[in-house]
Every structure is written in C-alpha cells, then in structure tokens.
Symmetry: C2
Subunit: 713 residues, 2 copies
C-alpha cells in the first residue's frame, strides 16, 4: 500500500500547522469525546481561523454553526480533522479530497493496526489522498499542534490543563502517547514548544515528514523525535540532512533498542524494525544525537534550547562548583563517567576565588563552602573569576536545596542575573532542586537548571556530542556503477576473492587445482610453506570436515595433504560438489580482523568490521555502518573497537597497517553497493593486518547471493 509515489519529506505539511480554516468531522458537543476535544481546544486556546464542526445532525456544536458535510462549509477548509468511526472515514476522506482540503488528520483507530481489513481500508485512504495531492496524517494518531498559532489538531491529554508556552522546541513522535508525554514534560520545565506532530500508523505522513517540516519551520530550533520504526531509509536520512543543513539539532529517542523491545515493536506496529546497531550508525552519520531514555531526551533537549543562542559547548571541559565537598565529588564522578573532563584552574583564578571566598578549596571540583553564598557580591566575584578563567570550560554550579531558603534564593538570583549580563557568551548551568518559580526565573536568564547530577552530566555530554557530530562531514550516497556480479563468486572462496581483488582488495596469490601433481606445481610456484583448502560452494565450514591443511613445507606434504583432503571431503561431505583444491601461501604475522556485509531490512547493505578470533565472538566487539563507507569512516569504525589497541601497537607490538585495513573496509562497502542486487552477504574472515606499510591480506571470503539472484550453476 505504500508503493505509490510519496512526496518529498515535509512537502505539503503546512496544512497541518498553518491552516486558516479547519473542519472537524465527527464534531461533538461532548468534550470528553475524541470529536468534541479538538473543537473545544481550538476555541479554548484561541485559534484565530475558521472552525467548521461537521456532523450529520447539523445545528450548533459547542456554540458554533455545524454542517452536515465538509462539502457544505461556507469555504473549503484547508485542514480536516477526522474523528469518525473507521468505516465512515473513507467517505469523509473522499469528501475532503473533492472539497479541495489540503490535509486530513485521521485520529480514529481501526486501520493498519487492526488486521487485514484495516490494512486494506488504510491503503484506500492513502490512494484517495495521494490522487488528490492531499497529505494524510494518521490514521490512529494524535495529530498535530502548532503551539504558536494555537492550532490544535489533536485530542492529547497533555493539553488537558494548559497550552504549552510558545517556544523553540519541535516534537515529532510516532507514538502519540510518548509525544504527548514529551510535550507535557518540556512544558513543565518551562520550555516553550513550536510544533508537535504524532504520526501514528504513518499511512502517508511519517516521521521523516515531521522532521523535515520542523527543519523548515523558522520557529523551531531543536527537534525532539521519538521513533519506533523507519519505513523508508532514504526519506529519513534526507529529512535528517535537511535539519543538519539548517543547523537544527535533532535528538532522537529510538525505542526498541533491545531484542525484547524490538520484538514488542514488531508486534505493536507491524513495521520493519531494523537492527538497532545500524540505527545507531545512521543517526551518528547524519548528525543525530541518539538518547537512551525519555529523561535524557528531556535533559539534553532542555539544555540545547537554552544554549541554542550560539553558546553550545565546544569542549568537554567542565568546572564544577558546590558549597559541599561531597557534592563536588558526586559531580566529578558523574561528569567523568559521562565523558567530560575536569581541567584545573589557572593560579590567578584560584587566587581570585580565595580572595572572594577564603575558605574555598580551589581544585576542580571547587569546594566553595557555604561562604560563597554569604552575600551576592561575594558570589558574583567568585563566579566572575571562574567565568574568566582561560580554560574555557562550562561552569556547573550546584545549589542543592539552597533555593528553598529565602535568603539564599535572593543571593543566587541576584548574582546569577549579574553574571549572565556581564558574561553573556559564557556557559553556566545550574543543578538544583527548588521551588518551581525560582527554577523558572533562572531558566529565564538563559541558564539551564538541571534537576539532578546525572541529568546535568548526560545533558552536557549530549550537547558536546551534538557539536562533535555536527562537525563530521556528510556521507554522500553511493554514486558508482551498479551492475551484476559474476555468479561464480558464490561458488567458492577462490572466485569470491578474485572478485574482491578486482575491486582493489588485497588477497594472496592462489590457484585451484584438480590433482596432487597440479597442487605440487602450484605450491612450487607459490613458494613454501603453503595451505591447501577444499573449494566447494556446499562446504561453508571447511575446517569442520577436515578440508584444510596448514603450513605444508614440501612437495611430499602437499601430495599427502591433497589426497587426505579429498578423502575427508568424500567421507564427511559426500554430496558436496567439489571445485577442486585451493593452493595458497601460508601467511603469518599480523593481527586478524573480520569484515563483512549483510543486508539490513531498512537500510540495505551494511558493512561490519571487528577483531578476529574468539574475542570478537565473546565481546561482540564489532562496528557497523550502512554502505558505502569512506576510508575516514572505516577508520573511525576501527578506532571505535574496544580491542583497537591491538592494532595500535599495544604492549610494544608493531602498529598494524590500520590505513590499509580501513581502505579494505571502504572498498568492500563499495563492492556491496555496486552488487547490492545480487550479493546478500559477504564474509571476509580472517583478514590479516600486517605491520604498518605492509598492507592487509584477505585470507578467506564467502559470498551469499540474494534470493532473487541466479544461483551459480
């Protein structure tokens, strides 16, 4: 049902946010009903456009003139909100299309999530909408809200008590509940919102549309996104790149991170979930900060908004200040665990701090003692010294419970207002519990207030990471040739390696032979010692059937090994089709890598690299990225491995040729893109990475065809 042409991400979404007239189909006087709530909320919060309640009974609804059909309204509404039962929705969508409505929001459930009939009905909704150039949000969704213009196309419980303040945070969420929860929590922290969109079943409009629309919205400066699945990789990455070009940080809570969560996601939505590690890689590549909890989403989002006036941290350095040594230690622990660093202060700064607060300990964390809050001028003097220190770090001041004390509250607020005025470009964040109005006052100064130490640590680390991600170069899509692969590559490692060699990947000199005498001649040509291996497409694990002979030193050993291998194959794999025996040089010395390609259901060919042998298996120490990867990206993948020191000359060993390894991974990824139609999987295992300058050798390789590609014979 999704194979029809889709619009570019974000195209036509203005209807959901900027409509000047709205029809509510299925409008009701009962404000506890889904059809009653949008009418009530549009009026309650002061939407300025026309509202047309649609109800077959006509008359008046919530004090407004109602119409029997969207075809009867005085003017064509730009947006229609549909709150009628599933079986009445298709006709309502047809009416909207006929009337020239630009967008419809289908709040009702009972479609794609409700069995085959629902799936068919949902497909029909999309067909009608697309045929008329109308965008469709939902069904089974919580709609859209433009907070600035009070346009409420939603029945979210988060709007029950109040409209969030207008501001810079845009929210896009597949799940309406999670989106609502985010909206409510940001508002509770006193942070303003721009737009909210919940995409539900994503029959037409999806998360990519939402991200793109927020990227293009001038009011939005930060995009918070909650997603479960991705239905179209290209649209998602295109939308993320739009946000990146407009320098709008995107923070994503992608749920379904564990196998159990993914299983739940699959049963919940029926969409493809994709590998979690691949999502990680895609987000990283496209400048997105992925967070692991709702709390982290809020904490990083909170700080990002308040510092989005150009003060986003460019360094992971923090200077920590508390009135209590114990709290200083807690902060130091949490910050270091989050990856931040604690530079020391300059001696001049230390002297100035002691001048202001003689009892202060001036290491970082600064143990400023209760004296720091004795008077506003003392505190200001200390803060000034800290903000002017040359280490350029972010200043983190912990207030614990102080804001509950009226005298201390006065001291802090006065000094904080002054330091912000005198040092508008410097970074200062507060960790404090306290009366909400005091916290709001500090936030209003442009100073983020975190509710706890881990929140501040994760929040700041997230901001630093956002900055680092923004600095990475964009990854261009694969632009090279696309063609068929020689089907022989699926037959045995000899042909697989030949194809890889043609793609610029180093493999050993090898021959396939059919007799012991040929094997001896090949071994002599190769140079001793050599290796013999059975070549057969039917034997994936050669060692297990006795199909490998290592370290053969002379003609006699080769002859004996040839016969033994053939006998083993006949005995242990009697039905296997044999292509002969491979003769290769015995290569030693270096570090073993493994690399491979697999096909992600969402993102297509994915390249993987890890340290070879038993350790990769036990430690799951591998890095993945969607193909193609550049050599620089491949190098970052290698460097991200826990066991990277093994390649980097740990314990006085020679440094391995990491550049050649990266080149090999990059070329493998290009090969995978070029032959994506034919090749489903590639394994290169082991890859011997030799000392720096000596390159790598792929000692074994295996390719698996896609189910659609022609078998090898």
């Amino acid at each position: 049902m999704l194979t029809q042409v889709q619009a570019a991400p974000g195209a036509g979404l203005d209807a959901f946010f900027q409509a000047r007239s709205i029809a509510v189909v299925g409008a009701s006087d009962d404000i506890t009903k889904i059809g009653g709530r949008p009418v009530q909320l549009l009026r309650k919060y002061g939407y300025a456009g026309a509202i047309y309640p649609i109800n077959p009974k006509g008359g008046s609804i919530q004090g407004l003139q109602a119409y029997a059909s969207v075809l009867d309204t005085p003017a064509a509404p730009e947006l229609a909100i549909l709150a009628v039962p599933a079986d009445a929705t298709l006709q309502a969508v047809r009416d909207c299309a006929e009337r020239g409505v630009h967008g419809v929001i289908v709040l009702s459930a009972g479609f794609g999530e409700a069995g085959p009939e629902g799936v068919a009905l949902q497909g029909e909704l999309v067909r009608v909408a697309r045929n008329h150039g109308m965008r469709l949000l939902g069904p089974n969704c919580l709609g859209a809200v433009n907070v600035v213009d009070k346009l409420v196309g939603s029945f979210s419980i988060a709007l029950e008590q109040s409209m969030p303040p207008a501001g810079q945070v845009g929210i896009v969420s597949q799940s309406g509940n999670i989106g609502s929860f985010t909206m409510r929590n940001m508002a509770d922290r006193g942070l303003g919102l721009s737009r909210f969109i919940a995409t539900g079943n994503e029959a037409d409009v999806d998360v990519a549309d939402g991200i793109a629309a927020l990227a293009e919205d001038d009011a939005t400066r930060i995009i918070l996104c909650c997603m479960e699945t991705c239905r179209h990789a290209g649209r998602l990455t295109e939308a993320l790149d739009m946000a990146r070009r407009r320098r709008k940080p995107v923070i994503v809570l992608k749920i379904g991170a564990t196998e159990q969560g993914q299983a739940a996601a699959a049963s919940h939505t029926g969409a493809l979930t994709g590998s979690d590690a691949v999502f990680d890689a895609v987000f990283r590549r496209h400048g997105v900060l992925r967070v692991r909890s709702f709390e982290e989403l809020l904490d990083v989002g909170h700080a990002a908004v308040l510092l989005s006036d150009g003060r986003l941290p460019t360094t992971d350095a923090v200077t920590l200040v508390a009135a209590s040594g114990g709290f200083g230690i807690m902060m130091a622990d949490a910050m270091v665990e989050a990856g931040m660093t604690l530079p020391q202060l300059a001696e001049t700064t230390k002297a100035l701090i002691r001048e202001a607060v003689p009892t202060a300990g001036t290491n970082n964390p600064v143990d400023a003692s209760a004296q720091m809050s004795a008077r506003p001028d003392i505190l200001l003097k200390m803060l000034t010294a800290l903000q002017e220190d040359a280490n350029g770090s972010t200043l983190v001041l912990l207030l614990a419970l102080s804001l509950y004390n009226p005298r201390l509250r006065g001291v802090y607020l006065e000094a904080l207002a002054k330091i912000r005025a005198s040092h508008p470009d410097r970074l200062l964040v507060i960790i404090s519990q306290g009366p909400p109005d005091a916290v709001a006052e500090i936030n209003a100064l442009g100073i983020p207030v975190f509710p706890g130490i881990p929140a501040a640590a994760k929040g700041l680390a997230g901001l630093v990471r956002l900055g680092q991600l923004a600095a990475l170069p964009a990854a261009p899509a694969y632009q090279g040739p696309v063609d068929a692969v020689d089907p022989a590559v699926f037959r045995n490692e000899f042909h697989a390696k030949k194809a890889l060699a043609a793609a610029g990947i180093s493999v050993p000199r090898e021959e396939i032979v059919d007799s012991a005498e040929q094997a001896v001649r090949a071994a002599q040509a190769t140079g001793y010692p050599v290796v013999l291996k059975i070549a057969s497409e039917d034997i994936a694990h050669k060692t297990e059937i006795g199909g490998v002979a290592l370290n053969l030193q002379d003609d006699a050993a080769v002859r004996e090994a040839y016969d033994r291998l053939m006998a083993n194959a006949a005995k242990n794999a009697p039905k296997a089709r044999l292509d002969g025996v491979l003769v290769a040089p015995m290569v030693r010395g270096g570090v073993e890598l493994i690399a491979g390609v697999s096909r992600d259901p969402v993102f297509g060919p994915v390249v993987m690299v890890g340290l070879g042998g038993i350790y990769a298996e036990i430690l799951k120490d591998v890095a993945v990225q969607v193909a193609p990867v550049s050599e620089d990206e491949a190098l970052r993948m290698l460097r991200s491995l826990k066991m990277f020191p093994l390649l980097d000359g740990a314990r006085g060993q020679a440094r391995a040729d990491v550049a050649a390894a990266a080149r090999t991974v990059a070329r493998l990824s290009e090969f995978a893109c070029r032959h994506a139609a034919d090749v489903a999987e590639i394994d290169m295992n082991p890859i011997l990475v030799r000392p720096e300058g000596e390159g790598v050798l792929v000692l074994d390789a295996l390719m698996v065809p896609t189910s659609s590609s022609t078998p090898a014979h």
Copy 2:
C-alpha cells in the same frame, strides 16, 4: 589522633537519638544562626524533653531560661549540641565531660578540615570525650535527628519547611549536605524517616557507628548511607554485618568512584579513599547494594521501603503493561538493560486479558490499549488475571499522564485499591507522573510509584540484587596462622614459587643452576623441552633484558641458552645480583590467567584475578576481593570476568579447570593473610589453566616485601 581505643560500632549512640534533655551551647535568639536553629527546631517540632540554652549572657533565649554554662543546668543534660567557635569548643567539651553528658554534637567547623592546628584541636576533643566515655559527633557536621521523637540535633536546611513524616528509612551520611538532600527527597516522595545522622569529620563517631545504630533501631527497616571514605575497615564491615543479621537492607552511595572523584575526596576530607573496585567488592560481600547516583539511592530505597512487608522480589521477572505500545517498548528496553527478564504469560492469562480488554496485545510487554481504563471493573479484571499468572513476576503498570485526567484517576485508584486488597502478597509497581496527591494515595496502598521508566528499572533491579546479595553466605575473617615468611621469597621466582607450593599452589618442577652443565643435568631430569630464565631479585622483567629462553629441545640448546642468558644479563643488567639460572619444563596448552595480591590502604591485602596476556591489559578485565576469599568466592570472581567464556569452553574448546583456578586464588589469598605483615604484593603471571581435571600451574611469581619487612639479604 585516631589511635585511641574506639567503642564498638554504634555503642553509646543512644545519646544522639534518645536523650531526654539537651543543652544547646552557643544558643542564640537569632534563628538564622547555627546556635539559634536547633533551639528553634526542637521547639517548633515538639521535642518532649528538657531544652537548656547555654549562653554566657544567661537570661532567656527563644522564650526558654538560658544558662551561662552546661555546669549550671538544673540537671545534667544527656546530650549537648555545640555551636560555639572552634576555639571555644574544647572548653565546652571539657564542661560537658565534667557534667556527665553522654554525647556531644559539634556542629562548628574549623577542625580537622582546617589545617594542622585544627587537626590537633580535633584530636584533643576526642581525647577528652573518650576519657570520659562520652561519644562525640562531628565536628564540622550536620548532627543527628530522631524523626519519631522530634529530637533535632541539627541545623539542616532540609528541616526548614517541615519535619519529614515518621517512618522506616534511616539515613547515615558523612556529608551533611548530601544527607540533608536525601532526607528532603525521601520526605518529598511521602516516605517516612526514622533517624538521620551526619558524621562530618568523624573524629569519633563514624559512618560505621551510624549504620550500627540504625541496625539496632527498631523503627528503622532500611538504611540509606552516603559515604566518601572509610577510616576503619573492620568497624565498617562489623556494622554492615549487624544490619545484615537484622535483615535490614543497606543501600550505599559511595562517592569518589572515579579517579577525579577520588582526588576530590582526598583533598576534601584528607581521609584515605581506598580503591573503588575494592569498595565494590566489600559491599557485595557484606550484602550491601551499592548505587551509582543519588537518584538510584532514592529509587531503590523508595521501593525497598514500600515492599519491605515481605514482598521484596525474589525473581528478576517482570510483566510490563501500558496503554501504549510505544511505552511498552521503552519499558522493555530499560528493564532488559537493567538485567530484568520478560517471561511470557500463560495462555489462560492471555485469554482472560482479552476477555477484559478485547483490543489488548497479550505478549509481554502487554499493550493493553486505552480500553483497559474504560471502567474500574475492566481494569481490575485485567490486573487480576495478570497477578494470578503463574510466572510469578513483578507487575509493572505504566500510567504516563493518566492521573492528570480526573476520570482516569478515579478508575485507576479504585482498581488499584481493590487489587491490593485481593492480592496483598503480589508485587505491583506503578510508573507515573501525576498530581502529588494521587501519587501519595497510590504509595499509601503499598504500591511504589516510580517517576520514570529508568527509575523503575533501576529500582526493581536494585531490589532483586539486594535479595541476591542477602542470599550469599557471610565471609568469615581470616582465622589461620599469622607468621613471618622466608625472606628468600623476595629474591627470585624460584623461592617465591616454592613458598606458594608450600601453601598448596601448583608450580612446575624447577631447579636453580649455576653452570651450563648443571643446566643440562637439570633439563635432563626435568624432561625436554625446557625453559631457562635468569633468577635475580634485581630483574623484574626478565624478557626485556634477554633473560628468558623458551622451548629448548636438547642439551646443546640448553648449553647455548645458558651462556647467552648470562651474557645478556652481564650486558643489559650489569649491576643486577644474579642467583643463577632457573631450569623449568616448557609447559603449553591451556588458558593463561593472572592473579595477584596488593595492599589496599583501607582494607589491607586484596586479591585480584584476570585473564592473562594483552586482553586483561586492554579490557581491564579483572576481579578483586579482600583476602581471604573462599573457593566459592574465587569462582564467582572468575565467573564475573568478561572473558570467562574462554575458560568455559567457548567455540568448542576444552573447558578449563576452573575449580583448580579458584582453589589457587583462594590459597593465594590465605597466603597473603598469613604473611600480611611481610608481603606487600604478589604477582602470579602467567598461571596456566589446563583442561578440566588437569589443574593449573603457576609459571612465574614475584613477591614484593612491605617496606617494614627485612630485605632478603
């Protein structure tokens, strides 16, 4: 100053919690002053005993008769709270001692934390107190509070607005600020407190005393502890064991977990910090749950209190329920990451759920849809089915924002009250934001309400861990002989291994020789192949100076190797004193371990074990525990290694003799205890662990004497 005899942990602390009369020395009419606040707080919250303000001016203070000295009060006060400057404190302590006061709280600063003079003064306070059998809390502390009896020996800001409700949580904290913060936050969650004690400089009363006093207090059922340092290992573990015997969970936030935090701790308090990993091990051994953040302390503590009626979870299984599939996935991700498991529901349970809520998805997490809260009876029917499922898991119900909606609030509260009444022994926790009064109502039912998903996951995982820790056997202290070691063990590996062999640890058959001919005879006796190694106490790294020859196959090779080793030693370590050359069998096959002993500044001899070679170094994959360790404990240490699968037959390899490895570690730890006075460090590296049933061999060993023990010659 701490070398005087200390009382048993907790002895004499009643004075701080149950005094029937209190003198406040330095009392003031000004309630913003440290001397004014205890008088005010004792009166404000209704302390029932006598209050004697002490002030040289006499007269009346805050409406009470004041006295010039503690010597003038009508009766001897049981407790004195000192809020006079540091230089007046010693006289005040002397007066208290003379008057027969049982305990003094020194709130004032300016002692051990303030330089050498302060240290001396603090020592004098303790001397006077101990000479009179009087306990001293502080100085530089936030005192003690008995919440039940409204005895406030503190000026904590956490008591500014209200007294916490009386309850079962005891708090002991070195840092007054952190303790106050804990007290305030527990009270804000509606959880009652029993006692609070903040130990500050710990001149006399320390955290161990506090833990012991709370363990013995009938009102206290859970002990929350915030500590930075430990001044006396034995007292701490004794106090922890007291709590364990009384089945009172102890949850510790030990700060200074990172190097930076430890550095800050050292500068902050001057006490020994100890290795963080060793603290981990000690806490684990003594049944303590160590948490990593303040938030986790509160979350686990919160749940532990509400479930301490015997419902503490005995399984890591959870069944997750939410009205939104997305939230279900988030819960699944967080629970699995915290180590919990998600069993499936019985088919009968699934059928009952669908009967109640036809739209529900009945996998775990259960996607119960908005229908579950349509009516109280529907919700109750579903909850009943879930609570009666045979999987015995903890039920986690997520309400998100629902409690903000008056109708939903009614539905949930009615159904929750009924399910608690009908299933009082089953475990049910809620995740919800919501109006504080609604949350309090649910907590009051005995159902813990967590504010967020990670909080619930960490809270439940913490509870499960507490149960697991409580089930571990207590670790007896070392009871064996203590004697001097043969000083030769420090001279070379030959003697070190001989001593280890005498302690029951397997080492190869070895000889020390002085000539090439002796080497050949030794090699013949040993059996080829052999290894030759230089033996010298001055050469710790034999390989680096060319002092090792491996895999020697015959007499000629041994002869040549002997001469080469001697030549290398003469050239590369000309000043080294040589003991000869060691001849040992060349042993191969098996997995390499390393094990050792070092001396922790707080806990004494500590045994370490890890996988050998480059991986231990890169991955820091080691386990530590305070000596002695039993074989069972050693086995748990081995099993905790990331690379344990290497020993356990990963990838079809033979399983290694893990039992023998554990026995070796246990015997090493006993050796370390026996010779703790002489031996500072031991390294056994490598230890070859052979296939199951074939034992281990310690191939090399090194011992380092304590600085006080006699050198080897």
